[in-house]
Symmetry: C2
């Protein structure tokens, strides 16, 4: 391929790539599998991309796994400005959406026009959770913290006093839209923990 | 798509996905952009996938960006057993290669056969650095720590007493194979730092 780009096309992307480094400082409610510390949103994004790829055949909707991966790669970038919203915490959805929209505008606005437009569109598609790719991406984003909590002995379920019914409603219903068999299995694995805690 | 998979196809992947969580504990020589702590290999993998995608048009070799992303997603998993090898440290290449090969065998061996084979092949392709996709993936893997060091004021260059000539040899020559214009620009940015330290 001809190398006709001048440096400008690169330099114009550097501020975005540098800014993305901040996502490593955004801490989630979820603890790592060994319980030693909270997971940050950058390593979480990496982990769910691996989940999405490895589990792709479990999607019940027809997906383009490459688009799903791109979606997951950038889905949490807005947290650099807006912070993480714990799924089991109190959420003011309208306020949060406004903060994230402003974050997307600032962050994707660091990119050259064409990339700004396509990244913003992909993020909106993920947030809307209507397309097949977004439905599967959301399923995966929701199921990974459940498996970390199972591994670390309760994690954010303990911190937020979560019941199994709440997990069904806040997590399971969404996972089932994209990967119902995965949820069937995961639920069977977590039920004993909730029973043991009297939270079933 | 018909949902004919039984749970076995999922449960057989869980140990691999759980084990991958360990990559968040593998610390690299590089500090984050603000210098506050070392970068771990999971968040590093996420960051370089973003780099690879955003900078794809700067590749001078014809690439399949989706394969590049998959390669980068799994390229560091072997560090779970073998640890990170700082590029500016003393390296026993033969010993390291044997450790990483054993790690790949154990980790990818956790997956069902077809995925084990394809993941192992993709990792070998990355390590061999011969295919276009691997050449570009390696360029990106090498250039990101340089930009973090520039941001945090020297980072691992100080720790390992690195000269500009060593950066040229250990990093620049590899980056240039896949993205020479990127290296031209990055080198122009880091040169003043090395001059200021008397390490040019
Ligand atoms: Ca590495």
């Amino acid at each position: 391929r001809p190398n006709t780009l001048d440096c400008t096309a690169f330099t114009s992307r550097l501020p975005f790539l540098n800014e993305a480094d901040q996502l490593k400082h955004v801490l989630r409610a979820t603890l790592l599998g060994n319980g030693s510390r909270r997971e940050n949103s950058a390593e979480h994004s990496w982990h769910i991309m691996l989940y999405a790829w490895v589990l792709a055949e479990h999607s019940i909707v027809e997906i383009d796994i490459n688009r799903v991966m791109q979606m997951l790669l950038l889905h949490d970038l807005v947290e650099i400005d807006a912070g993480d919203t714990p799924i089991h915490g109190e959420i003011d959805h309208k306020k949060m959406a406004a903060k994230e929209e402003a974050a997307a505008k600032r962050l994707f606005g660091l990119l050259p026009e064409a990339q700004k437009v396509s990244f913003t569109a992909l993020w909106h598609e993920f947030e809307a959770a209507q397309s097949n790719d977004a439905i599967y991406a959301k399923s995966i984003d929701r199921v990974q913290p459940v498996l970390l909590n199972l591994k670390n002995g309760g994690g954010s379920w303990i911190e937020y006093s979560v019941s199994l019914a709440q997990v069904d409603y806040r997590v399971g219903d969404k996972v089932k839209l994209g990967a119902p068999r995965v949820w069937d299995f995961v639920r069977s694995q977590i039920e004993p923990w909730f029973v043991s805690q009297g939270l079933d």
